[in-house]
Amino acid sequence: MKKLVTGLTVVLMVIVAVQFFLAAAGAFDTAPTEEAFAPHRALGNVILVLALIVALLAAVARMPARVAGTAGLVAALVLTQSVIKEIAGAVGDGSGALLFGVHGVNGLLIVGAVGALLRQAHGKSATAPRPVS
């Protein structure tokens, strides 16, 4: 189970990298905004679900509390991304665009959180495979 969690965190990291690619690709797409960012939005949902699954599995597998906690943090940050998008859209034009910049900063926080998650999950399962009686 812990191997699975560790594997999933690696997958999560890769997907987050792809997500940045999709964001940039969407920004330079000539299609209407909603359509151009469809892959970015879909992958965002995948990241959210994956983070929740990691949190769930980490808890069930009794990995250290921090692993589940960090995975939960990732999920919360991902949810924040869509909230930022909605609020910025509601605010509109000038200040909305400014507010939307937070979406990018929060994206970096997600990278950091996933990195920490990777370290916690990986470090634990590789170097200290739990104290056995």
């Binding site: 909603e34 509390a65 906690g69």
Partner: protein
């Protein structure tokens, strides 16, 4: 403070509360100082209680804004907070186990998150299934937290990793926890599936009592009114290249131009339009936006007719009994179709027109990737002193702001229907909603006049070519509020026969079988929005509530609606009959219409990012 702002504030307080509870849980888990824990605990409690303020204010604006907060959010977060406080206090006295306290504090956080998620992700209305799922998720999360905590600090006599499936007494609690968590998660998932499928079932069409009438037989008069004539038009839909700014755009057009040639008639004429489709693969129809045509002529594909395929044709016929400014457009794949240029003006003038009057029609349209452009704009020679009528049409699915500098003017008609005793106004902006039309009248001033579109000069009227410079302060002019414009007393309406409430929101709903975060009407996403059935002759009273953060353009086919009130304030000015209106975030509109036009009408809230 606006309703939308209060909604945001409520979300912010809820999320801040969740953060406070999680912080408190983290501090207890790390055995930080009691004072710090106390501060966080107090913050959590304060935020949980404070939330009652936005909820109370929003309840005052309308129950639709707070239903799920009042029934679920406040009670559940309140109970969880109380439990967390009791647990927290007992820990500080050194009595309770830390794991229990951390779990209780986390549970308060989960409750706040669930409350936020219900408001934000599910929206209106709150269903028992959604409430049960949310409770189950809070419980599952708390159980899992407890499970993680009971192991983490000191693994005393852990045998969890023994390969043998040990069934000793020490294993039992863990198993039980696992089974319990699994069962709860399974139940939640099952509940979710059931809930989503229920949403679809409820969406099944209700059928009205009585005999069935094919909508294609609901046609109107086939002779002109006395004094009127038969006016025949042909409109061929075809692709063409049109010039937009400095670019060539591959457009879909009627007769090769955008907008298509205007269809004009005098009141009482019989209008017959033959629609041909030359090469629009997607198919076309003609919809007479805002014009009360018989149902069979309405041009709503799949509802009142089938779309006209390439090589096909369809004849529309209706008597032009109402004078006013309208427009026609395809209603098949209308969103992309209209955007690419399948529209034109429909102008019906009264039989007697004062001589020497100038009548100018200008429509705003936005091609993808281009700035909005005003067709019919530019420079016009108009002699000083000329009675001038300016017909402004918005063909986009976003609203646009117009302003007229150089003269005061009267808004004589909205959506083709005359206003009662309009007064001259100046230094105001006109916010024309998606699909809407405003008619302005003024006497041409000697110094000329300039029409601004979204703050930029778009049309200049005058003779001297010395047009007035666009006022730099015009973009800051206030919007003209039509609810207080004009002088007539409000219409007295009899009691409505039918009341409908449409709550517009965003939430997770099924869209063609797949769950997605979509725009919803009463919890259902297009195309599963239930039909609203009314009887012919019914006076229908509709309350439109916008809980979302998006402006919803709203358009009813076949009937103009009378605006009764906005945000609880009754309409004070001229009776305002419209077919297009923008329902902005947090707004509540009450409108009424008489269902005199039998058949299937569609209410539409279209969107565009």
């Amino acid at each position: 403070m606006s309703t939308a702002a209060w909604i945001v504030l409520d979300h912010a307080v809820t999320v801040a509360g969740a953060l406070a509870w999680f912080s408190a849980a983290g501090l207890v888990a790390r055995q930080r100082s009691a004072r710090l824990i106390g501060v966080m605990l107090s913050a959590g409690v304060a935020l949980t209680i404070t939330r009652a303020i936005p909820v109370a204010v929003l309840a005052g604006r309308g129950w639709w804004f707070v239903q799920e907060k009042a029934w679920f959010g406040l009670p559940v977060t309140g109970v969880a907070a109380a439990a967390a406080v009791v647990s927290g206090l007992s820990t500080r006295r050194g009595a309770g186990p830390a794991a229990g306290t951390v779990t209780a504090l986390s549970a308060a956080g989960y409750a706040a998150v669930a409350s936020f998620a219900l408001s934000y992700l599910i929206g209106h209305p709150l269903t028992p299934v959604a409430a049960i799922i949310a409770l189950a998720m809070i419980g599952t999360a708390a159980l899992l937290t407890r499970r993680v905590l009971t192991e983490a600090p000191v693994p005393v006599r852990d045998s969890a990793d023994l390969p043998a499936a040990g069934t000793g007494p020490a294993e039992m609690p863990r198993r039980r926890a696992l089974v319990l968590a699994g069962a709860v998660a399974g139940l939640s998932a099952a509940g979710g599936v059931v809930g989503l499928s229920l949403r679809r079932d409820v969406a099944a069409t209700e059928h009205p009592d009585g005999s069935e009438v094919s909508v294609t037989t609901l046609r109107g008069a086939d002779t002109p009114a006395p004094g009127g004539v038969l006016r025949r038009y042909v409109r061929t839909a075809r692709t063409a290249t049109v010039r937009v700014g400095s670019d060539d755009v591959a457009a879909w057009t009627f007769e090769g131009t955008v907008p298509g040639p205007a269809i004009v008639a005098q009141q009482g004429d019989l209008v017959e339009v033959e629609l041909l489709n030359q090469d629009i693969d997607a198919g076309v129809t003609l919809h007479w936006h805002g014009y009360d045509v018989p149902c069979a002529e309405d041009g709503a594909p799949g509802v009142t007719q089938d779309a006209v395929p390439v090589g096909g044709s369809h004849v529309y016929r209706f008597r032009a009994d109402q004078a006013g400014t309208y427009w026609y457009h395809t209603h098949h794949a209308s969103h992309p179709g209209v955007r690419r240029g399948l529209y034109g003006h429909l102008i019906v003038t009264p039989r007697a027109i004062p001589a020497g009057r100038r009548d100018l029609t200008m429509s705003v349209h936005t091609f993808d990737g281009h700035v909005p452009r005003l067709d019919g704009g530019g420079d016009h020679d108009v002699l000083a002193g000329t009675a001038t009528r300016l017909r402004l049409i918005n063909t986009d699915s976003d609203s646009h702001r117009f302003a007229l500098t150089g003269t005061d003017f009267r808004v004589v008609a909205v959506d083709g229907r005359d206003l009662d005793r309009p007064t001259p106004v100046g230094s105001v902006q006109l916010r024309v909603p998606a699909g809407g039309r405003y008619d302005l009248e003024f006497t041409m001033p000697a110094a000329g006049a300039t029409l601004l579109l979204n703050g930029d000069s778009a049309a200049r009227l005058g003779t001297e070519r010395g047009y007035p410079a666009a006022g730099s302060d015009a973009p800051n002019w206030p919007d003209l509020d039509l609810l207080t414009y004009g002088a007539a007393p409000p219409v007295r309406l009899p009691a409505p026969d039918r009341r409908l409430t449409l709550v517009l929101d965003r939430g997770i709903a099924r869209v063609n079988g797949r769950p997605s975060f979509a725009h919803t009407v009463n919890g259902h996403a297009h195309p599963a929005i239930p039909d609203q059935v009314v009887r012919t002759g019914d006076l229908v009273h509709v309350t439109v509530v916008n809980r979302s953060f998006d402006t919803h353009p709203w358009h009813l086919h076949g009937h103009p609606v009378l605006i009764l009130s906005r945000d609880g304030r009754s309409a004070q000015g001229s009776p305002l009959w419209v077919d297009s209106l923008d329902v902005r975030p947090g707004e509540v509109w009450e409108i009424a219409f008489r269902a005199t036009n039998p058949g299937i009408s569609s209410t539409r809230a279209s969107h565009r990012s």
